[in-house]
Each structure stands twice: as C-alpha cells, then as structure tokens.
Amino acid sequence: MAVENACACGEKLSEEELLAKLDEVLLEYKDKPGALIPVLQIAQGMLGYLPETALKRIALGLNKPYSEVAGVVSFYAFFSTSPRGKNVIRVCLGTACYVRGGKNVLDALKHQLKIDVGETTKDHLFSLEVARCFGACGLAPTIAINDKVYKRVRPTKVGEILEQYKEAAKQGEAHG
C-alpha cells in the first residue's frame, strides 16, 4: 500500500522512508511518560492517517499493547485509520454551533458527499469529520475545510462551498 503524501517541504517520501522517520520519533519519545498521544499526532501528520503498520510500530516502539494504541486511536475522532481525502471538512458541533443548526449543516454535507462522518469520498477529494468549537461561536454555525473556517453556514449553501474545491482540483489536474 503506497502512501502518497508530502511533507511540508513538498517532497514526496515513500512509505518506507516515512516509517523510518517514525522510528526516529519513537526513539526520541520512548521513555517519556504520556508519549502515546503526541506520537500519534506526529505520525498522522507525517503519513496523513494512521495505517496499521504505523500503529504496530508505535506499539512496539513505546512498549505498549497494540490494543491500547488502537483504543486511544478509536477514542479520539481526530485520529483516522483510513487515508483521508485531499480536503478535510470538519463540522463544528460545539454548543453554539449545535444550537444554531450545525447538525443540519452536517446532514447537508453527508447528503451532498454521500458519506458518513469519518469517511472519505470515492474520488478522495473530501473527508468528513466533526469537531468541537473553533472559537468562532459568535458566527455559528461554522465549518472548517483544511485550515479555512467558514462562518454562518447555511445547509443550502454547502454545495457552493464544495464546488470551489472541486473546481480547484480540476484546475490542479489540468496543470499537473
């Protein structure tokens, strides 16, 4: 399974190279208490998601049962064990957003993308996740796509937002 991913500098690394980097991280964190969550965050940052091979390496590297590593990964919505789409959509269901209809926005997105929370579209363009509070409660309901936060989102308007990303992807392909 080839993991296509780029690190910050834009250069592509093979899965092997990425896992070798992970081993370095593991050596550094090995004896630190409470290392599991930071290591998982780093690994997800490097690989884009947390494949089984990486999780098993982490378990061995930190000397923790695999069941515990998996338990932590499956507890936090932030962690993903399947490759995520090019664009990660996070819908805020914090109190303010929930009250102002965040759930309806989420339903609209599920409907448009034909996926459930935690899933990725077949074309790998979008993944859908839920989040708690982006600190923009005054402008609820909010969603974030990658690092961009959209405020006062109407369920009827999500189509338009998605369209921009689909368009950008097409442009990218044409140039690529």
Binding site: A59, L60, P65, Y66, S67, E68, V69, A70, S74, T81
Partner: protein, 584 residues
C-alpha cells in the same frame, strides 16, 4: 493510622487504606463490581458508593482514602437509591437474557440486582453493540453483555502481561476487546481464560462444548473415556453448594459414570509420565552441555501450560527451543489412550473419544493444536472446564451431593502422589527435580536439600539451588554441580524471569512456568467471586486441601511405578511449532 467510624463501628486502618478496606476490616459489606483487590481500583462502576459526613457528593469507597475521624454511612436511603440507579443504568444497556445465559446463577450483576432490590429498569434506551466473538477454541465473547468494568483488561495486561484487551471506541460504540474490536484470534491472546475467570457477567466465558460430549456419549460406536485433572476434584463440589476446597473425588467418579463415560481416569497418571520425561530431558540437556560441550538450549522451561507456550510463540519466539519437548499430562493422556490403551482394549484410535476435564480454558486450545494428533487422529477430542462439567451433571439431573463414592479406573488410574502437587505453583519443578535427583544419585531427594525461596522484590518468582552429591558412576559428571531453578506463575512474572536470563542477572538451568497466578490450583475455582475478595486469601484457603491427597499414595517417585513401564515414549513428546504468523 487513621481511625474512622463506619455505620457506628469504630475501626483503625493503616495509612493509605481506602474506605472499602476499612469497611471490610469492620465486617461491613459494601458491594463492588469493578474493584479487584491488589489488581484494580479505578472507581469506574460506582456501585460501592457511600456517604461521608460533610462531603457534598457520595464517594466511591474503593478509591476514597480513609481519613482520620471520618464518619461513613453505607446504608442510608441516599446510598441505597444511588447504588440502585447505578445498577439500573448498567442493566438498561445490558443484554439481559438471563434465562439462556451460561452465567445465570453465577453472575455478579444478577446477584447485585437482587441484592439491591431492583424491580424494574426505569431507563429504557439505546443499547451498545453486540459483537459475538467465537474465533478461538477457548473462549466466547459477547459485547452486549459487557458492563465495562475493565477487570479483564487489568488481568490481561497486569497479571498476564499480554494486553490483548482494552476499551475501544467511545460512547455506545465502545467495546472492551482487542484492537479495533477485532476477534481474539487475530491478536496475541494466549487463551489463558483469566479474563473469563474475572468477568462478573457472561461477556467472556469458556466455549461451551457440553453438546459435543453428549453427542459422543449418544453415539453407540464411540468408546468415550474421560480424564480429570487433579484440580477438578477439589473444585467441582462448589458447583453444588459444597464449601470451596471440598474433595469430591468419589462423587465425581460416580457422576461421570452415570453420565455414561465408559471409563474414568486420572490425569495424574500421565502427570507422572510428564515428570519422568521432563526430569530425563533436563538431565540429557545438562549432559550435552557439560560433557559433550554441545550447544543446547538452557535453561529448560516447562511445557505443561499451553498459555505459556503460546505466550512464548507470540512474544519470545527466539526461546522456543528452550521449552521442554514433553507434552502436557493432558496431551500425553490423549496420546496414550488412543495408542497403548486402544490396543489393550482392542479398539481403533478413531473409535475412542477422549474427554478431559480441566481447570483451564487454554487446555481447549491446546487440544486443538495441529500437532496434537500423534495417534493419527485428534488425541483429545473435547476439553470441559469445571463449570461445564458441573452444568452437565445438572443437565443429567444427577443428585451430586448424595452420590456414593466410586473409584477411578486403573491401570490409567493410579498415580505416584508426586503428581498431586503438580497443579500447584512449584509442583512440576519439584517433582521433576526429585525424579532427576533419584536417577542421578539413586537416592531420594532429602527435603532439606531443596530450598525454594522468594526473590527479593520480585513477587510471583521463586528460585532454588540444588547441589548434587553422591552421583552414581553413570552421572558422575554431575557430582558437585549446583542446579539452579526458578518458578514463576502468572505470565508477567514469567517475563521477568526471561528478562533476568537475557540480561545475565540470573543463570538458571530449569524454570517452571504456570500461566495462571498460583498455578492450576487457583484456576479450579468455578466461580469468579473470589476476585472481589482477594486472590491471595482464596489461594490460601484452597492450598492445604490440594496438597492433602499427596500422602496416602504408595510410591513417591514416578519412576518406580510398575504400570508406567511399557507406555510408548514417543507419545510423550511434542513438536516445536514454527514461529507464530503474527507478532502483535
């Protein structure tokens, strides 16, 4: 040393003790579910709530430290209602089909509901996931019955050092199980069944194989025989309300005959064989190392505990060669029954059906291992646990308590007595050493020559040294040699021994490992309730009776048994399996 008052009883406890400890000292019962003495106190289930004067909320007594001058009430309206609500909430998410549950009558949740006087469940609502896992020969899991007490998690990781179980996911999706809620056969579970032994409900239990035994008994073509492990005769009585540890050997034999078994044998017979083989193997390895200067795998580890073998295959595949190639008594019995005994009674191996009654779920797994068919067919067909045999006797409508005594069949039915201590931690090592000593010196091992002592700071591991003097000529190279041995019970303790060997901190020749804490004898308990009271005390209560049968037998050394001669030796050896496919 705080002194506190619980329900008007004054009690003084050691610093660091909890309210629960104090109440037990004062003889006041507080119900618990998630708590396990010395193993787990996490305050998760809230069943142990009590009222402390001056505190705003009720507190969980299993984690709340006892304070000087505290005034505790364990039986107020508020406490009763809160406990009831806690259990009602557990029940509302519990798949409560008690009538068909194999733990009915022996379930802590059921008992608690009755004890707290719950008459209806006022919180109907969503239920968790129902995942059934019957992927292993030893265990069945049903996530819908799980109450998330995490006792299994604690024993699997702390006592066994396996860590196959952990809470997965969250909310109603949450299950206690292997990574990503997979089945047990995909992970490093060693099938020891410690999780099933501590589960308060029917969420993890031994695989029920009673019907397979009934089918064989109903089949006129099959000659169905049964072997019973030493631990069973002291445990079975408890299924019928007799006090823990009561020896019911005679009644058990009667019951087995009434169930329709054609012959009833004692696993002790082959335990003697195991001891003899194991002692000889140790000597052979020592000779190779000392005289022939060959490279042999030392220390030699015992091989009778199948959970331990699986543990090594998963976690330390590099020491597989160190495990004795002797089969466990159960498997030797199966092999001998389907070869030697089959020939004696003029039957074919495939017409004999061997049932074992064992204290341990891993024995179910052991019997299914592919290499365990030296008779050409499966050597042991079905393994029942004590609980299953108890249920089978009930199904047959047998009035167990009033049965007359009966005797085991021979020649497979007498034993040296050396094997009687086999089920205890240290028993296999001691018996094998005695045998080896006698072979080497021609004399019995004087009791004072073997000093087994605990290792400072290492609970669950003991060691001993034995200096050999007066060796007969054939074994003269062992004259003056000191044999170092160690005994570990509970797999996390076994790990300590392996690590000590690896780091060069210790140099043993022979190591006994039993998968279960306290050895097989601890596993003979049919009920899980001991774990609430504290395993140590329970062990102490059982021990003297387990050792009791040692005395009346005739011959001490298994080698001196006439009936053992002539038993085919190849039946006694097992093959070393190739490395396990998955390491995690």
């Amino acid at each position: 040393m705080p002194t506190l008052t619980i329900d008007n009883v004054k009690v003084e406890v050691a610093a660091g003790a909890t309210i629960l400890d104090a109440s037990r000292k004062a003889g006041i019962r507080i119900p618990t579910l998630c708590y396990m003495e010395k193993v787990q106190a996490i305050g998760a289930c809230r069943v142990c709530l009590v009222e402390v004067e001056g505190a705003k909320t009720l507190v969980a007594s299993c984690v709340m430290p006892a304070g000087e001058g505290m005034k505790v009430k364990t039986n107020t309206k508020r406490v009763r209602e809160a406990r009831r609500m806690v259990v009602e909430l557990l029940l509302s998410d519990h798949d409560g089909d008690c009538q068909t549950c194999n733990r009915s009558g022996d379930c802590e949740l059921q008992a608690l509901a009755r004890e707290l006087g719950i008459k209806e469940i006022t919180y109907p609502g969503a239920k968790g996931r129902k995942l059934i896992d019957d992927s292993t020969p030893a265990l069945t899991r049903d996530s819908a019955k799980c109450i998330h007490c995490r006792r299994c998690v604690a024993v699997c990781s702390q006592i066994q050092g396996v860590g196959a179980l952990f809470p997965q996911s969250r909310g109603f999706k949450s299950v206690i199980g292997p990574a990503f809620a997979q089945n047990l056969d995909t992970v490093t579970c060693v099938q020891c069944g410690q999780c099933a032994a501590v589960c308060p409900v029917g969420a993890i239990s031994e695989r029920d194989q009673i019907d397979e035994v009934w089918a064989a008994l109903d089949n006129p073509k099959k000659h169905v025989i049964v072997q019973t492990a030493p631990a069973i005769r002291a445990a079975l009585g408890e299924c019928f309300g007799l006090p823990p540890g009561t020896l019911v050997t005679g009644k058990m034999v009667s019951a087995l005959r009434r169930l329709g078994f054609h012959a009833v044998f004692d696993t002790n017979f082959t335990a003697d064989l195991t001891i003899l083989e194991e002692g000889t193997e140790l000597l052979t390895r020592l000779k190779k190392a000392l005289v022939d200067k060959e490279k042999v795998a030392l220390p030699m580890y015992t091989s009778c505990s199948p959970g331990w073998i699986k543990y090594v295959e998963h976690f330390y595949p590099d020491i597989r060669e160190h495990i004795s190639t002797c089969k466990s008594p159960q498997q030797m019995f199966g092999a001998v029954a389907k070869t030697y005994y089959a020939e004696k009674i003029g039957k074919k191996a495939e017409d004999i059906f061997v049932v074992s009654v064992m204290p341990c779920t891993a024995k179910k797994y052991e019997a299914q291992r592919p290499e365990m068919n030296s008779s050409g067919v499966r050597d042991v067909d079905v393994v029942l646990t004590t609980r299953e045999l108890g249920r089978m006797i009930q199904q047959a409508g047998i009035d167990f308590v009033n049965l007359p005594d009966d005797k085991m069949d021979s020649p497979l039915g007498i034993s040296s007595g050396a094997a009687d201590i086999f089920a205890n931690t240290g028993g296999v090592m001691e018996a094998a050493l005695r045998t080896a000593y006698e072979i080497v010196t021609g004399k019995q091992l004087p009791a004072e020559n073997l000093h087994i002592k605990p290792i400072e700071g290492l609970q669950g591991v003991k060691e001993a040294s034995l200096k050999i003097t007066g060796a007969v000529p054939a074994w003269s190279f062992l004259e003056g040699v000191t044999v170092n041995v160690a005994v570990a019970h509970g797999l996390s303790n076994a790990r300590k021994v392996i690590e000590r060997m690896k780091s060069g901190e210790a140099n043993y020749h022979f190591v006994e490992v039993m998968t279960c804490p306290g050895g097989c004898i601890r596993r003979r308990r049919p009920a899980a309730r001991d774990h609430r009271r504290g395993a140590d005390e329970a062990h102490r209560r059982h021990l003297p009776r387990g050792r009791r049968e040692e005395t009346p037998q005739v011959a001490r050394e298994p080698g001196s048994r006439p009936d053992i001669q002539g038993v085919p030796r190849q039946a006694a050896r097992r093959e070393i399996a190739p490395p396990a496919a998955h390491a995690l």
